[in-house]
């Protein structure tokens, strides 16, 4: 029984599955993701052998052709016994994109979720310490969103200047 059968048996109708170059991708819609995502990842970890969370990545699908939901969060899982990889993509939407935190399953998700929050503003429910990790704490925007300008809003030039005579 493959993990696809297991997922079909437990979460039938909650996800779509597609393959790309021999690797499977599981997608969960935005309205189902808050309920289904944690249980599905738990099932994949406990019962299907995907015991390693390799990476969490965020995607902004603003102005993307045929995109139904705005944000995607991709969980890259690895089965360390077989070397198999699986990508689970959960969607989220404005105005308050939110997904469940997977820190209860993988402690290593801590900083990865903080990074996705920092760059995209997607909140992770249940995360114990959801702060910015890359940008300074007083930064107000989410710079990897597609509607954020490449050069920023001028934040990088709003520091105090030191002249030579006063230093």
């Amino acid at each position: 029984m493959t993990y696809i059968d297991t997922l079909n048996a437990r979460f039938s109708g909650a996800f779509a599955i597609s393959a790309f170059r021999g690797q499977n991708r599981v997608s969960i819609d935005a309205h189902k993701a808050p309920v289904v995502l944690f249980d599905m990842l738990k099932c994949l970890k406990m019962d299907c052998g995907f015991d390693f969370l390799c990476d969490i990545a965020g995607i902004d699908y603003l102005n993307y052709p045929n995109a139904a939901d705005r944000y995607g969060v991709v969980y890259a899982l690895v089965n360390t016994t077989t070397g198999e990889r699986l990508f689970v993509r959960a969607f989220a939407n404005d105005p308050e994109p939110e997904l469940p935190s997977v820190m209860a399953l993988w402690q290593g998700a801590n900083w990865m979720e903080r990074e996705v929050f920092d760059m995209f503003g997607i909140r992770f429910d249940g995360h114990p310490d959801l702060r910015r990790i890359l940008m300074p704490s007083e930064f107000t925007a989410f710079p990897l969103r597609k509607d954020y300008p490449l050069r920023g809003y001028g934040e990088r030039h709003n520091f105090q200047t030191i002249t030579r005579s006063e230093s």
Partner: protein, 199 residues
């Protein structure tokens, strides 16, 4: 012994001149290396290029012991208060070299986080172009600093008092309309970063 009878054993000169002569041949660099320029900085200090020939081989990682800050590499906005704090910790007299395209102008990194030249936030004496610059260029910059010291230096560093205005380029932030700009200041006098309110 014969010569001491012919020449006086004292010399009349300006105190500034002596101070400059001593200072410029023992510049102690503070290597503020954040990127690939730092590798060239290391190569400059290594035996092949040997910056010791020009008296600035004593790199110290404590700003309290340095008088030449070499900013080598790109500086992001999170780093600016740290850089300013290190600059303020260096004792007078002190000078600054902006090494490489990124430190001087932001280079190719015209993004939301990279500052477009460190001279917007701290005073810079010599700029070194290049991506990264060759070690010879950095040695040239040290020689330029030496020349600047010998021309303008004074015993009590009073030449710096005249440099009271902003020396960098026109601020890009002014090109933004006020409603578009977000003010996110870093406070280098109290801490490296502003504290967020607790709750």
């Amino acid at each position: 012994m014969a010569i001491s009878g012919l020449m006086p054993d004292y010399l009349v000169t300006r105190l500034d001149h002596v101070a400059n002569l001593v200072r410029k041949h023992s510049l102690w660099p503070m290597p503020f290396a954040t990127a690939c320029c730092g590798i060239e900085l290391m190569a400059t200090a290594a035996s092949r290029y040997d910056i010791a020939r020009f008296g600035s081989e004593a790199m110290r990682f404590s700003p309290r012991q340095c008088d030449l800050m070499i900013v080598a590499g790109r500086v992001v906005m999170k780093m600016v208060p740290v850089m300013q704090r290190i600059w303020l910790q260096m004792p007078e007299p002190k000078w600054c070299i902006s090494m490489g395209a990124c430190a001087s102008s932001g280079g190719v990194f015209d993004t939301y986080c990279t500052v477009q030249g460190i001279d917007r936030f701290i005073p810079v004496d010599v700029y070194v172009p290049g991506c990264p610059p060759r070690p010879e260029q950095l040695i040239r910059a040290v020689l330029d600093i030496q020349e600047k010291i010998s021309r303008t230096g004074t015993m009590d560093a009073r030449e710096f008092a005249a440099r009271s205005s902003y020396e960098g380029p026109t601020s890009l932030a002014k090109e933004l309309s006020p409603e578009e700009a977000i003010v996110a200041p870093g406070d280098y006098r109290t801490a490296t970063r502003l504290r967020m309110p607790l709750n």
